[in-house]
Amino acid sequence: MLKINNLKKSFGGIIATDNVNLELEKQTINAIIGPNGAGKTTLFNLITGKLKTDSGSIFIENSEITNLDETETTHIGIARAFQITNIFPNLTVYESIKLALLSKINGLNNMWTRFKDHKVNSDADDIMKLAGLIKSKNSVSSELSHGDQKLLDIALALCLKPKLLLLDEPTAGMGPEERWKMIDRIKELWKKTKITILFIEHDMDIVFGIAQKIFVLQQGAILAEGNPQDIKKNQKVIKAYLGGGKK
């Protein structure tokens, strides 16, 4: 449902995205792996519109979204969670989710009602349950644990009811146990919502454990793609990346 054709992006003389071609099937979980600096986050930025492409095109379910800006891509159905948690420190979990939900339906121009009374309750509860945050509903975001903050980041993205969810290193900064909890949660979420997921990840066990298709990025270009079995056996990948051991 996501199709990227010949995408290119450079910064000054440095090629960040080198003729990338990529296709995702609907309702699948996919992973992008690659060493630091391979251009993974840049690719996300190009898809969501945070960065403009130099050339190439991007399609979602056959409609072109190349160079739409960040706000526009959210309306098309792309949502994204960030590598460095990007939440609202002084607002509670519930308030943040509510804001995201209201934002989608343009409800934030309303000056006549009280925010606290606003009816998005059941939607908010569903999303908080999906993200496992229902217990922390009224906690102030800055006081959440690192893991919960990352979950909140994902929950905010889910508020957009997206078709494609981009997760940038969802387990970054977590210990081994927490990582698996996060991945289980993502898997559960995927089963319940049936959205297409593309995530960036460094932990190979996780990637091989959950992804249906893997794309290997190196120096801005796709080195290899395929299911976990194929990638494990791919000589190029082993030489360039896996041989160095797990991150």
Partner: protein, 334 residues
């Protein structure tokens, strides 16, 4: 009954507002000291000014250095209008003052739209400096157009305050009750705006300026509307001040005037809705008390601000609310 007061609704706020106004009116008779009445009036006028700035500072996270531009614009608009021939030509007669006030708000709003749309494109300190630069350009214009504005002497010649709707603003009680009524009414409206989805949108931008775009939200429009509201309320405050002083002065457009609401926000607190109003109260009382006893007002004010910045590290109302919540938590744990 307690439950009614705890529930955060417009109706409750309106009742509190009405109750406050009635109490203040009663105070007028119970304490017949004109000095006290003066302080109370000034607290509300400056409080409006500070509350309007806090929309930007406390709720949007935008530190505007040039907010007094709108205060001055409102004041001069009212003064110039009431002195002008418009009144005679169009025979507003009984409605001169309401029309003047509304006109002041409109002029401030238009100025805020112009200045705001340019300033909100910049971030952080550049935003702050640009608002200041615009204010000082306005100040220079006021000084330069001597024939119209009276230049550095201020608007001279005064103006009359014709009665309207049975209210005669030349009578102390009428002025007192009217000013406080308007102020409380606007504060009530502001409370509604701040507690509405729009208001929470402001907090969202303050907490994280980049994220809203990734949620499909347009920051800039929101910021501009908030800026215009803030400017309009400041203009209203300015027009009330002009009515009080029967004139307008260029000092109100000088950068030092923009520092006053900043102090009030610091003293009272930027994180509670009425913090700036409490700040205005502290500021006025300090002003009155200090100038009565010594001429070194700057020294005292400077020391007070320093102690708040280094000591309390937050405004008084913020601190009170924090202590209150802490004791509630302690009680809950016991």
């Amino acid at each position: 009954m307690i439950a009614f007061f705890k529930k955060d609704t417009f109706f409750r706020d309106a009742c509190l507002a009405l109750f406050s106004w009635i109490s203040l009116v009663i105070i007028f008779f119970v304490i017949p000291d004109p000095g006290i009445h003066d302080i109370i009036q000034k607290v509300f006028i400056l409080g409006l000014f500070a509350l309007s700035l806090n929309i930007l500072i406390g709720y949007l996270g935008l530190i505007a250095f040039g907010h007094a531009a709108f205060f001055a614009a409102g004041a001069y608009t009212l003064g110039l209008f009431l002195q002008s021939d418009f009144i005679k030509i169009y025979n507003f007669g009984a409605f001169s003052i309401p029309v003047a006030i509304i006109l002041s708000i409109c002029v401030s709003a238009i100025l805020a739209t112009f200045i705001g749309s340019i300033c909100i494109r910049l971030k952080d300190i550049y935003f702050s400096f640009l608002t200041l630069a615009f204010q000082m350009v306005l100040y220079s214009i006021i000084l330069a157009l001597v024939d119209i504005t009276g230049g550095d002497q201020g608007l001279m010649g005064g103006f009359s305050k014709p009665p309207f709707l049975g209210i005669d603003l030349s009578k102390p009680f009428d002025f007192y009750a009217f000013t406080i009524f308007i102020s409380i009414f606007v504060i009530l409206m502001l409370r509604q705006i701040i507690e509405s989805p729009f208001g929470y949108g402001l907090r969202m931008i303050r907490d994280n300026a980049e994220r809203p775009a990734a949620l499909g939200f347009n920051n800039q429009n929101h910021k501009l509307i908030a800026f215009i509201i803030a400017g309009s309320i400041a203009g209203l405050a300015g027009s009330l001040q002009a009515l009080l002083d029967v004139g307008a002065y260029p000092e109100w457009a000088f950068w030092a005037k923009s520092a006053e609401p900043l102090f009030m926000i610091l003293l009272g607190g930027m994180n509670t809705f009425l913090g700036p109003l409490m700040g205005a109260l502290i500021f006025e009382i300090l002003n009155d008390f200090v100038t009565a006893n010594t001429k070194y007002y700057g020294l005292v004010l400077g020391l007070v601000i320093l102690s708040f910045v280094l000591g309390l590290k937050q405004g008084l109302l913020d601190w009170i609310v924090m202590k209150f919540k802490e004791s509630k938590n302690n009680n809950a744990q016991n």
